[in-house]
């Protein structure tokens, strides 16, 4: 869309006018595209140094989320993976699911509150980006309780660290091992398989390729990466034994063979009895059998693979620059990834320096997640964690931690700008406007939230609104608030 310059609103521009205009636009890009939407006063704090504002945020330790209502993944899964009690499986599962749902609500509330309140919104957005890159989805009921823990335990600690460490943490996390079924994957030549074959089990559990396929396709090399079905199978064999402690839904015959040492229920557990023995070749490189370390060695090489740098750079550029980012921008981010050995702050620095990102304001259509968070930030609405508040994400089409597939939510305008989705957004904004509009002044807020991207058309519509409530609705419905 075209931008109509707004500042200064009166004729008689001084010599610094163009420069001031550019600064106002750059501040809005920093707060709204790289961040999660400006809070009142944020654009002033950004001032004339948007890149510096972003760089400051990626220094120091990452912001973690802790709370008494946020148990560890092992705690959450301990009931389901602990020793079986007398209750029938269906009842046991129902009880576990009730607890999972309670934890899920607490996780979503904590994540939302953090996104709304944070002074480091760039880091929070990056956290959401990586969670989506390594997606699990709570429509698989087994992960309802631990989807938030994956973000807290495997993503947040590494969001300002190295890609390889995040990759290792994610692939060992119980949420991922559950979601992509690896905890039950049995090597065809493993001790357990041999044991079962000797007992002539009709359908012995076997190799599960799910995790291996998604690691290659979605987590590292990308779908166009240089791997084939053989590599998927070999990597699946490499990863056999990467499992979860306790009993879980292990078939009884498997448990018989595993013996007494089941490990901490609900925590990562390498099980040699499930592991496919022998050296394996992945992407043309031979990995001697070293048990658990074999998988780690392959993952380290995948993290350092040029295709991974390319794939991650492309996704970051698509998220922060445009749906179809310029090749040159992708190439610079890719180079930063390669030259820093996947040091993420170095990669982010290249992202901040991408001239393409600052050239075109409003290049990205907000996701529902962006839209709800930026509304709460912009209007300074206190978060309560109540079900109705959290329901907004689902109402607008992006239930938290529920992308529906390991591919995560799409990052293209066309996936979010559907007619019904747009109308739902406007209706939600109107309901919110009706509730709090009388206590906000939209005309004052508009320049504070949109800075140099605020159009004269929008400001005029807000000023001419019939009521304060309607004025707020128009601000939230404005094209420049729908985008970032």
């Amino acid at each position: 869309m075209s931008l109509q310059p707004l500042y200064p609103m009166k004729p008689g521009r001084g010599p610094g006018w163009e420069r001031a205009m550019e600064d106002r636009i750059a501040a809005a890009i920093a707060a709204n595209r790289y961040g999660l939407g400006a809070r009142p006063g944020e654009l002033d704090r950004i001032g004339t140094d948007p890149r510096g504002w972003l760089r400051e945020q990626i220094e120091g330790p990452p912001p973690l989320l802790r709370g008494a209502d946020l148990p560890s993944s092992a705690q959450i899964l301990s009931a389901a993976f602990g020793p079986a009690d007398d209750a029938p499986p269906a009842e046991r599962f129902a009880a576990a699911l009730q607890e999972y749902r309670r934890v899920y609500s607490a996780e979503v509330a904590a994540r939302f509150a953090s996104a709304v309140a944070t002074d480091r919104p760039f880091v929070e957005r990056l956290t959401h980006f990586w969670t989506n890159h390594f997606a699990v989805s709570v429509d698989k009921l087994a992960v309802v309780g631990v989807a938030g823990a994956l973000e807290r335990e495997a993503i947040r600690p590494h969001v300002l660290g190295r890609f390889v460490d995040m990759l290792l943490a994610v692939e060992r996390h119980p949420a991922m091992l559950l979601y992509l079924d690896n905890y039950l994957s049995v090597g065809p030549g493993s001790p357990v398989a041999t044991y079962l074959a000797a007992r002539r089990k009709a359908r012995p559990p076997g190799l599960n390729e799910n995790l291996a396929r998604e690691i290659l396709e979605l987590h590292t090399l990308g779908v166009d990466g240089p791997y084939g079905q053989d590599d998927v199978i070999r990597l699946a064999e490499v990863l056999t034994g990467w499992s979860i402690g306790g009993t879980g839904r292990m078939p009884r015959v498997v448990l018989e063979r595993l013996g007494a040492d089941l490990g901490e229920p609900g925590a990562f557990r390498f099980r040699p009895a499930l592991h496919e023995p022998g050296a394996k070749e992945v992407l043309g490189k031979r990995y001697p059998d070293s048990g658990e370390a074999q998988g780690e060695a392959v993952l380290r090489d995948l993290a350092a693979h040029p295709s991974t740098a390319r794939f991650v750079a492309t996704k970051l550029a698509r998220h922060f620059i445009a749906d179809e980012p310029a090749d040159a921008a992708v190439a610079r981010i890719e180079r930063a990834f390669v030259e820093s050995d996947g040091d993420l702050p170095s990669v982010y620095a290249a992202l901040i320096d991408a001239a393409e990102a600052w050239r075109e304001p409003l290049a990205k259509f907000k996701t529902p997640n962006d839209y709800v968070i930026s509304t709460y930030r912009g209007l300074e609405i206190p978060t309560t964690g109540r079900p109705r508040e959290i329901a907004a994400f689902e109402t607008l089409g992006q239930k938290t931690y529920a992308p529906g597939s390991p591919a995560g939510w799409p990052d293209l305008s066309s996936s979010w700008d559907g007619a019904s989705a747009l109308l739902a957004r406007i209706e939600w904004a109107a309901a919110l406007g009706a509730r709090i509009g009388s206590r906000r002044r939209a005309a004052t807020l508009a320049p504070q939230l949109l800075g140099g991207t605020l159009s004269a058309t929008t400001l005029r519509a807000i000023e001419l609104a019939a009521t304060a409530e309607q004025a707020l609705t128009l601000l939230l419905a404005a094209p420049e608030f729908m985008r970032r």
Binding site: S2, N210, S415, S420, A421, I426, P479
Partner: protein
């Protein structure tokens, strides 16, 4: 009770439906703009052996134990179709439609997917590719895109509508489609709508989207909007009511997609009564409502009810069933050449089960889809064999599924 064998049913299909199945080669007029198609996706894996019990199969009752559906005439018994297969007793409307020749029941049908993951199975069901995650577009959208240009956007509206906020994979792709879902939010007042429309005047994308949304909204009664979250059953009724309103409009879309969840019956599935029975009853009621809502357009409509996979032949230890392979599907509508069961029945004997546990697939769902898309919507055969269903030579188009 007639004993059911594979050859019997094969012969039965050849005799009763054979004339239709084999003789008609001509496709519908390319890009028939009057034809209507509704796709209902049952996510989670419908238990085809409960929805369409093969009560005459000698192994059925043994495998299903407490959740078996009894033979017709018994308490809670199946609604008979052809002396071999019945419908679940909750499917009263479908049974009427069968008698009226408006329902064809497909059994032992499956997509080419042979593993047991919901995600991958749904991906294959919707993408139309033989393997999961092969593409980011769906067969129904590619079919719309393959229609002659004159038919594609002959109308002001899009040719396809997804009943839901997000367009599902099956309807994603190059052809422009629109989405609609009942709003859980209070409607906008007309003054605010007018002001936002003005505000979007300089924004081509948003003004087009808003106009689309408002146009669709004007076709559904206001009473459908603004309520709180309804139960699943009411939601399904809302959805089909809206689908009917869109499709019966001459200038409306010709294709609608909706989905329902909750078919993943691992535990306490129930038999003639119980959770699955309740879901089937809700589906049956919704389909009855769809017919009522479509009015005269019903005669030009084909509804396909399909799921990602069937479930295990044997009931499990939790009185449910686990992920399986082949199952049942329904072709319903005034344009369907119905009143028959189309099944090359493999039987439920231990040796006949796929991998010793599932109903074996003997009909590729893509054959059915090709038949409907080609002979009902008029999608060119060449496109069906290439863009719409790549690598699908194993699944030749099934002729004669729709009335000439």
């Amino acid at each position: 009770m007639a004993k059911l064998s594979r050859r019997d049913v094969l012969r039965s299909a050849a005799l009763t439906g054979g004339a239709v199945l084999c003789s008609r080669v001509a496709f519908a007029a390319a890009g028939d703009t009057d034809a209507r198609f509704v796709l209902a996706l049952l996510r989670g894996g419908l238990d085809g052996l409960s929805a369409v019990p093969p009560y005459a199969d000698p192994d059925y009752a043994r495998l299903r134990r407490q959740i078996a559906i009894a033979a017709p005439g018994r308490d809670g018994g199946a609604l008979d179709l052809d002396g071999r297969f019945g419908l679940h007793p909750s499917l009263a409307f479908l049974h009427e439609a069968y008698a009226d020749g408006e329902l064809a029941v497909l059994h032992a049908v499956a997509t080419p997917y042979r593993e047991r993951s919901h995600f991958d199975a749904q991906d294959v069901l919707e993408s139309g590719f033989p393997a999961p995650h092969a593409d980011r577009t769906g067969w129904l959208n590619r079919a719309l895109a393959a229609l002659p240009r004159s038919a594609q956007l002959a109308n002001a509206q899009r040719r396809g509508v997804a009943l839901g906020q997000n367009v599902p994979l099956v309807l994603r792709g190059p052809a422009e489609v629109v989405s609609w879902s009942p709003s859980r939010l209070p409607p906008l007042d007309s003054d605010t709508v007018a002001r936002i429309s003005d505000l979007y005047a300089g924004d081509e994308l948003l003004s087009r989207r808003l106009a689309d949304a408002l146009a669709l909204k004007s076709q559904v009664p206001a009473s459908m909007d603004g309520g709180g979250a309804p139960g699943r059953r009411a939601e399904l009724l809302e959805t089909v009511t809206a689908a009917a309103r869109f499709l019966r409009d001459d200038d409306g879309p010709s294709v609608a997609v909706f989905d329902t969840t909750g078919w993943d019956t691992h535990a306490n599935e129930g038999g003639a009564r119980g959770p699955l029975a309740a879901r089937l009853e809700a589906l049956d009621t919704a389909l009855r409502e769809l017919k009522r809502g479509l009015g005269p357009a019903w005669e030009r409509t084909v509804v396909l009810v399909a799921t990602e996979f069937g479930r295990t032949a044997e009931a499990n230890g939790s009185r449910g069933t686990d992920h399986g392979t082949a199952g049942a599907a329904f072709l319903l509508g005034g344009a369907v050449a119905g009143g028959r069961v189309i099944a090359d029945w493999p039987g439920l004997a231990p040796s006949a089960l796929y991998e010793g546990r599932d109903l074996a697939p003997t009909l590729d769902l893509r054959s059915v889809l090709k038949g409907v898309l080609g002979e009902h919507l008029g999608v060119p055969e060449r496109a069906l064999e290439t863009d719409v269903f790549p690598e699908s030579r194993a699944a030749p188009l099934l002729h004669g599924l729709v009335r000439t």
